[in-house]
Symmetry: C2
Subunit: 97 residues, 2 copies
């Protein structure tokens, strides 16, 4: 079963562009992974958050991605500038995605 997550990440003040660059690098890397169907990064128009929409072949594929060296490096880069991380919703895609 395909598995999706929408997350909302907020950087510390003045760090949004740096966090955005890290997440766009994550998008490029993740979309090369066989189990990743989509990894789309957006900036919120409602507040300072960055929104990430991810679709994976399965929940296991998502879990495995967290252990990849590139993921661990990007998480290490993002951590010091993250103010908050919120998982908005997890979902099963229907139709095309």
């Amino acid at each position: 079963m395909a598995y999706g997550i929408i997350g909302k990440l907020t950087a510390m003040q003045g760090e949004r562009e740096t966090l955005l660059a890290i997440l766009l690098e994550a998008a490029t890397s993740m979309e090369q992974e066989a189990g990743c169907e989509a990894y789309r990064v957006s900036v919120s128009l409602d507040d300072d958050a960055i929104v990430v929409y991810e679709v994976w072949a399965s929940e296991a594929a998502h879990q495995q991605s967290l252990a990849l060296p590139v993921t661990r490096r990007l998480i290490d880069q993002a951590k010091p500038i993250l103010a908050s991380v919120e998982q908005m919703v997890t979902f099963e895609p229907k139709g095309t995605y």
Copy 2:
């Protein structure tokens, strides 16, 4: 500027599959519109909601879609079985989408 919305729609009890069918029909129609980059429909794994992730060429393109006969027909079909509609976030996509 491209424009995105994530919405969460909840059907009245027993009507989720009907609402899902309406939204999947909307997805098929909207993705044929020139201004629509993505219209992805998912079922929440957290609650009974249906999640819609939309990306449009512009906010104006989104507004115009609401006036289309197909949109008006599908909204009319959905209204009687909708318990709630929540706009989770509006956004500007970055990178690929």
